[in-house]
C-alpha cells in the first residue's frame, strides 16, 4: 500500500500497519488538494499546518492505539460546523472572517478518535440550496463534469470525497443536503435519525430538521464515521439517549430475507428515464440477493416539498435573526450621521446575506407572521404528522423504503438559478426523511447515459441505521460503483 493509492479508511489502516505515518498520509492528501482542488473548489480553507500538527500528535501516540479508530484519517468538514481556531463562515459574507471559538461536539469526537481535520468545505450559504452555487466564494464543481453542479448544500464535502481529496467528510442534512450531493457525486451519504448525532456547534438552519451526517466512498467508511460521532451529548438537549450500536460489527451480518418497499406510484412522473432505469437495476440486485420487493403507498409524499418549504424557512428566519452585526464578524459600513441600531441591523443583513438566504428568511417570516401562522406553519406541522404516519404504516411490512435519491442527475451550473421553485421541486425524494426524523442513506447505483452518477436512497425506521448500513453493504458488495473514479479525481492507481 503506497500513500498515493489510498482511498478508504481501510486503506489508511493497512498503510499505517505497514509503517506509513499519519504525517505522510496527511501530506499525501494535502498534495492531492493542492494539485486537484483548483478547478473543483471543494475547499474554502485548507488547514495545512493544523492538520500536519494533529497528524504528528497521532504519530507520537502510535497509530495502533485501540482508542483511535480513526487514527490518521483526514476528514473534510463542511464550513457550517464550528472548528476551534479555523474559519467557520457557512459560505456567507455575513460570517467572513469568523473564527470559531469552540469545537462542535462532532469535531471533538472525531479528534478524540484520531481523525485529522484537513480543511473546511464549500456549501450553499447557511446550507440553503442544492447546488453549492449560493456561496460567497463561488461555486463548487462536480468532479464527474466540471460544467455541472455537485449538488448541495454539502457540495464541497461530497466533491472532496468523490475526487479522493479526503477519504471521509462531514456535512449537514436539513432536506437532503448530504444525500443529494452524495448522489450527484457518486458517493455514500447517510443522514442519521434526528437526535442520533449532536448538533452542538452546527450553525443552525432549521433546528427540527438539521442533522450532521457522514459522507464516504463506502458504506463501511460511513459506518465507521457515524460510530465516531453518534451518541447523546449534554450540550444538545435534542440528542437522543438511545444506545449506539456497533455499526461496524453489524455490517458483517446481512439482513435475513429483507423486505424492501418501493413507492412505484410517486416514481411515475417527473423522474428522468435514465434515473429510473438505474434505480430499477439496483432494485433487481436486491431481488437477486433474496429481498422481497413490495409496493408501498406513501399517499402524502407529494406534499412533502411544500410542507418542507414552509417548515424549514420558518425555522431559518428565527435562527438567522442572530446575525445582526453585533456579535459575529460582519457589520455593514454606516454613515455616522444617520446611524442608529435598526439601520445597522437592516443594512448588515441586506448586504451580508445572499439572495437565496434572503428569499428563505422572507418566506419564513411570512409563514410565521400574524394571520398566516395557522394556514402555513401549523398546517405544515400537521401534514408532517401525516407523512410520518405513512412511513409508520409502511414499516409494518418493510425493512426499508427505496427510491431514487433525486429525480434527475446533476444539472448544469446556473441552469436553475432563476427559478427557485423548480430547484425546490428537485428535493421531492429527500425532504421526507428530515420531516419525519427517519434515517436515510444514499448509495451510488450506476450512471445515466451521459456518465453522471445516480443515487439510490433507502429510508429506515427511527434509530435503525444498522439495517440501512447492512442493506447498503450487501448491495455494494455486488455493485461496487465506488471503485470508479471521476475524471477530476486525484489518481490513486
Amino acid at each position: 500500500m503506497t500513500a498515493s493509492s489510498i482511498q478508504t479508511i481501510a486503506d489508511i489502516r493497512a498503510a499505517m500497519t505497514e509503517g506509513l505515518t499519519a504525517v505522510e498520509i496527511c501530506a499525501q492528501y494535502l498534495e492531492r488538494i493542492a494539485a486537484h482542488d483548483g478547478p473543483l473548489h471543494a475547499f474554502t480553507h485548507v488547514a495545512k499546518e493544523h492538520a500536519l500538527e494533529r497528524a504528528a500528535s497521532i504519530d507520537r501516540r502510535g497509530s495502533q492505539d485501540p482508542d483511535l479508530p480513526l487514527a490518521g484519517v483526514p476528514v473534510a468538514v463542511k464550513d457550517n460546523i464550528c472548528t476551534r481556531g479555523l474559519p467557520t463562515t457557512a459560505s456567507s459574507r455575513i460570517l467572513e472572517g469568523f473564527v470559531a471559538p469552540y469545537n462542535a461536539t462532532v469535531i471533538d469526537r472525531l479528534t478524540r478518535a484520531g481523525a485529522v481535520v484537513i480543511g473546511k468545505t464549500n456549501c450553499d450559504e447557511f446550507a440553503m440550496g442544492s447546488t453549492t452555487e449560493h456561496s460567497v466564494s463561488g461555486p463548487t464543481r462536480n468532479p464527474w463534469d466540471l460544467e455541472r453542479v455537485p449538488g448541495g448544500s454539502s457540495g464541497g464535502s461530497a466533491a472532496a470525497v468523490a475526487a479522493r481529496l479526503s477519504p471521509i467528510a462531514v456535512g449537514s442534512d436539513t432536506g437532503g443536503s448530504v444525500r443529494q450531493p452524495a448522489a450527484f457525486c457518486g458517493i455514500v451519504g447517510l443522514k442519521p435519525t434526528y437526535g442520533r448525532v449532536s448538533r452542538y456547534g452546527l450553525l443552525a438552519f432549521a433546528s427540527s430538521l438539521d442533522q450532521i451526517s457522514p459522507l464516504a466512498l463506502t458504506v463501511s467508511d460511513a459506518a465507521t464515521l457515524l460510530q465516531a460521532i453518534a451518541g447523546q451529548d449534554p450540550c444538545d438537549a435534542t440528542s437522543a439517549a438511545e444506545a449506539v450500536p456497533a455499526f461496524d460489527a453489524a455490517l458483517r451480518e446481512p439482513v435475513p430475507h429483507p423486505t424492501i418497499g418501493v413507492p412505484w406510484k410517486i416514481l411515475e412522473d417527473g423522474v428522468d428515464p435514465n434515473v429510473r432505469t438505474a434505480f430499477s437495476a439496483a432494485i433487481n440486485v436486491f431481488r437477486e440477493q433474496g429481498a422481497q420487493i413490495v409496493d408501498v403507498p406513501l399517499p402524502h409524499a407529494t406534499y412533502a416539498v411544500p410542507t418542507y418549504y414552509v417548515v424549514a424557512p420558518a425555522e431559518a428566519s428565527s435562527n438567522l435573526a442572530r446575525y445582526d452585526g453585533v456579535r459575529f464578524a460582519y457589520r455593514a459600513p454606516l454613515d455616522a450621521a444617520d446611524a442608529d441600531l435598526t439601520s445597522m441591523y437592516n443594512r448588515t443583513r441586506e448586504s451580508g446575506f445572499g439572495a437565496e438566504v434572503k428569499r428563505r428568511i422572507m418566506l419564513g417570516t411570512y409563514a410565521l407572521s400574524a394571520g398566516y401562522y395557522d394556514a402555513y406553519y401549523l398546517k405544515a406541522q400537521q401534514i408532517r404528522t401525516l407523512i410520518r404516519r405513512d412511513y409508520n404504516t409502511a414499516f409494518e411490512r418493510v425493512d426499508a423504503v427505496a427510491m431514487p435519491t433525486t429525480p434527475t442527475p446533476a444539472f448544469g451550473l446556473g441552469e436553475r438559478s432563476d427559478d427557485p421553485l423548480q430547484l425546490y421541486l428537485g428535493d421531492v425524494f429527500t425532504v421526507s426523511a428530515n420531516l419525519t426524523g427517519l434515517p436515510a442513506i444514499s448509495l451510488p447505483c450506476g450512471y445515466v447515459a451521459s456518465g453522471l452518477p445516480v443515487g439510490l436512497q433507502l429510508t429506515g425506521r427511527a434509530f435503525d441505521e444498522e439495517t440501512l448500513l447492512r442493506l447498503g453493504a450487501g448491495y455494494e458488495r455486488d455493485a461496487p460503483w465506488w471503485r470508479d473514479t471521476p475524471p477530476a479525481a486525484a489518481s490513486t492507481g
Binding site: P306, A321, L334, D340, L341, S343, I361, L386
Partner: protein, 97 residues
C-alpha cells in the same frame, strides 16, 4: 390562489430586518408569490384533529442539574465582534434617537 402584493413584501422585509433593494422587492414579489401559490395545495388536505409535529422523534423533557460551569472567556467571546469597543463590551450605534 394566494396573491402577494408589493406592500406585503415591504412589510415582511421590515419584520425580517432586511433593507431590500428596489429590484429585490420586485423579484421577491414575483418569486415568493409563485412559491406561496404552490403552497396552496397544502389546503387540500383535511387535517382536522391531526396533531402537529414539532419534534420529529418523540422524547421526554430533558432536565439537568443547575450547576455553574466556566463559560467562554470574555476576550474570546468578543474576538469575532465587528466593533468590540475596547472596554469588554459589544459597541453598537445609538439605540434611542
Amino acid at each position: 390562489m394566494t396573491t402577494l402584493k408589493r406592500t406585503d413584501v415591504e412589510r415582511i422585509a421590515a419584520l425580517a430586518h432586511l433593507d431590500l433593494t428596489e429590484s429585490e422587492t420586485e423579484l421577491f414579489t414575483r418569486q415568493l408569490g409563485d412559491i406561496l401559490s404552490y403552497f396552496d395545495r397544502l389546503q387540500q388536505i383535511d387535517t382536522t384533529g391531526v396533531p402537529a409535529t414539532t419534534h420529529p422523534v418523540a422524547s421526554a423533557p430533558v432536565m439537568r442539574a443547575d450547576e455553574p460551569r466556566p463559560s467562554m472567556p470574555r476576550d474570546e467571546a468578543l474576538a469575532n465582534a465587528p466593533d468590540p469597543g475596547g472596554d469588554g463590551l459589544f459597541r453598537v450605534p445609538k439605540v434611542i434617537g
